[in-house]
Amino acid sequence: MINIRNAVKKYDEVDIGPLNIRIPKAGLTSLIGPNGAGKSTMLLMIGRLLNMDAGQIAVAEMDISKSKSEDLAKVLTILRQENHFVTRLTVRQLVGFGRFPYSKGRLNKSDETIISKYIDFLQLTDLENRYLDELSGGQRQRAYVAMVLSQETEYVLLDEPLNNLDVSRSVQMMGYLKQAANEFGRTIVTVLHDINFAARYSDRICAMKDGGIAAFGTVEEIMDAKILTDIFETKIDILSGPYGPLAIY
């Protein structure tokens, strides 16, 4: 469980928080909301890439500001959008870095097996010896997802994993994430912009607005015309589609 208590982040103009939420273990949780609502801030604070100004966050009973970084790296991983990438680094070597919390840079046989498993899972097998700068944006994104999965952490946080992906790549990526949650038992928390992607693939949705949490619940609970219209301040209707509720805007 991710347990957030009174977490606050102060920016010059606005404050995010105090945030209070308990995100249960297992499944895929999506964070949605308008720009500036604090979705990425919350995700980055959980992932300890952003220091909070007040409050506590515990992941799997570990306080993220008190636990050792090395120990947290075996429980929690986060992937951001913009990543600095090294030029002479292959896909396989990048995925190998996911094993760093365990191997400290010396990969053994079982590490190599795990690396192969996630490269194959994300269908990067043919590309595994390519340098990262020889890949397209979508392939590189998949390579980074393979890296965070090979870290084999209980909790995987992803900041806007569908950015810059077309519809077919987005569907493919959500398929991988859903499968990772189901098959490997990961708890995945992701920031999404598309409400319908969130509705189709999530187990839970957390809706944020104005630096606070507006609603948190199952897909059916949140996919409500009144709630969504309120959050996005835009007229949104809900239709029931063949795969669940659909938002029309």
């Binding site: 992932g47 300890r48 890439l49 952003l50 220091n51 970084s69 090395e70 120990d71 947290l72 790296a73 075996k74 929690l76 991983t77 986060i78 992937l79 951001r80 990543n83 600095h84 990438f85 090294v86 030029t87 002479r88 680094l89 292959t90 396989r92 070597q93 995925v95 190998g96 870095f97 996911g98 760093f100 919390p101 400290k104 840079g105 010396r106 990969l107 190599e112 690396i115 192969s116 043919d126 595994e128 010896n129 390519r130 340098y131 020889e134 965070v148 870290q151």
Partner: protein
């Protein structure tokens, strides 16, 4: 190109590994290049020691000449170690491939310390500022200043690299102007003393410091080589390093201290070599097709050693001492750099 990758990929598919090189072929090429460069360096160094020695071997004055030349070669080795390892490390922890510690004003700091000593306390203070204590004191001051600057800039919450580099360059330029301003205010005789101190070169190295400088450089270099695994992770950037369990601030302060030690020892011994580190690092990334610092460091040293010995050999024996080595290094470096960029089309 693509076929080559596919072929290499197949080769690797038998044993799928995430080793430092993506194929056996590239690994072999790396070792051959490394050995060739080391050989060039050793031959040039040997040439510097014995070629065109004006006194015969059996003459009593042979030994002093050979010793003087040997000191120069030792100074070159120190410079090669210090500049190669510190530049590659610095570029990895700051995730950039353009700015080097030298460009950020390490040498400017060195000349400012000496100039202000003379300016504020007089020539006598500068003359007395010798010996092991003074040497260590100077290194201590330089490390402290570097940490204040880079530590503060690199560890801010949103550590902004561009901002740090910009401020670093500005401070470096500022220090350079400040010390050149102070130099204009002092008398010519004082300036003379200062100049002999500031414009060190490998032929005029402060050999009395060798006994402490050599161990310091070797220890700092070995510590950085042992830190290679963390450097590999840090080169992926702050976010990725953090999520892989490497706490960014302490993890970069430690190599930064070692980098400033290496740079200040080298500068104190043989003076500034502004573009040397840049040249080494740029060529290293071309010569070693890997991200792994365990392989980048040896290649960087081999390149640095070959460049400096070859440059001095050419200056002493081909151009009959008519040139300045930094000019040669920058001329050849610039040409190779341009060649590489034009051929590859990317930086």
């Amino acid at each position: 190109m693509n076929q080559e990758i596919a072929a290499d990929g197949k080769l690797n598919n038998e044993v799928r590994t995430a080793k430092a090189f993506r194929s056996k072929k590239e690994e072999k090429r790396y070792w051959m290049l490394l050995i060739a460069l080391l050989l060039i360096g050793v031959i040039a160094a040997y040439g510097l020691l014995v070629y065109n020695n004006p006194v015969p071997v059996d003459s009593p004055s042979f030994l002093p000449v050979a010793r003087r030349r040997m000191y120069a070669v030792v100074a070159m080795i120190i410079a090669a170690i210090a500049h190669s390892i510190s530049t590659v490390t610095f570029q990895s922890i700051t995730n950039n491939r353009i700015i080097t510690p030298s460009l950020l004003g390490f040498e400017a700091l060195h000349s400012t310390i000496h100039t202000s000593l003379l300016f504020f306390f007089g020539a006598q203070a500068l003359i007395n500022f010798t010996g092991t204590g003074a040497f260590l004191f100077q290194i201590g001051i330089m490390v402290l200043m570097c940490l204040l600057l880079f530590g503060w800039l690199l560890t801010k919450e949103q550590g902004n690299l561009q901002l740090m580099l910009l401020i670093g360059v500005i401070i470096g330029t500022g220090l350079r102007s400040l010390s050149s301003f102070m130099r204009r205010m002092i008398s010519p005789s004082e300036f003379d003393i200062l100049q002999s101190r500031l414009f060190g070169s490998v032929n005029n190295a402060q050999t009395e410091y060798f006994p402490i400088a050599i161990p310091i450089v070797i220890i700092a270099a070995v510590l950085l080589i042992l830190y290679a695994n963390k450097l590999n992770v840090l080169s992926l950037g702050k976010n990725t390093a953090t999520t892989l369990g490497v706490k960014h601030q302490p993890a970069i302060i430690y190599p930064l201290v070692l980098v400033s030690i290496l740079m200040s020892v080298s500068t104190a011994l043989i003076g500034p070599l502004t573009f040397y580190g840049f040249l080494i690092a740029t060529l290293t990334y071309q010569a070693a097709p890997t991200y792994d610092h365990r392989y980048l460091f040896p290649m960087a040293f081999a390149i640095g050693f070959a460049i400096i010995t070859l440059a001095y050999f050419l200056m002493n024996h081909v151009f009959s001492g008519a040139g300045v080595v930094s000019v040669i290094i920058e001329l050849f470096g610039g040409l190779i750099f341009l060649f590489v960029i034009l051929r590859k089309g990317v930086l």
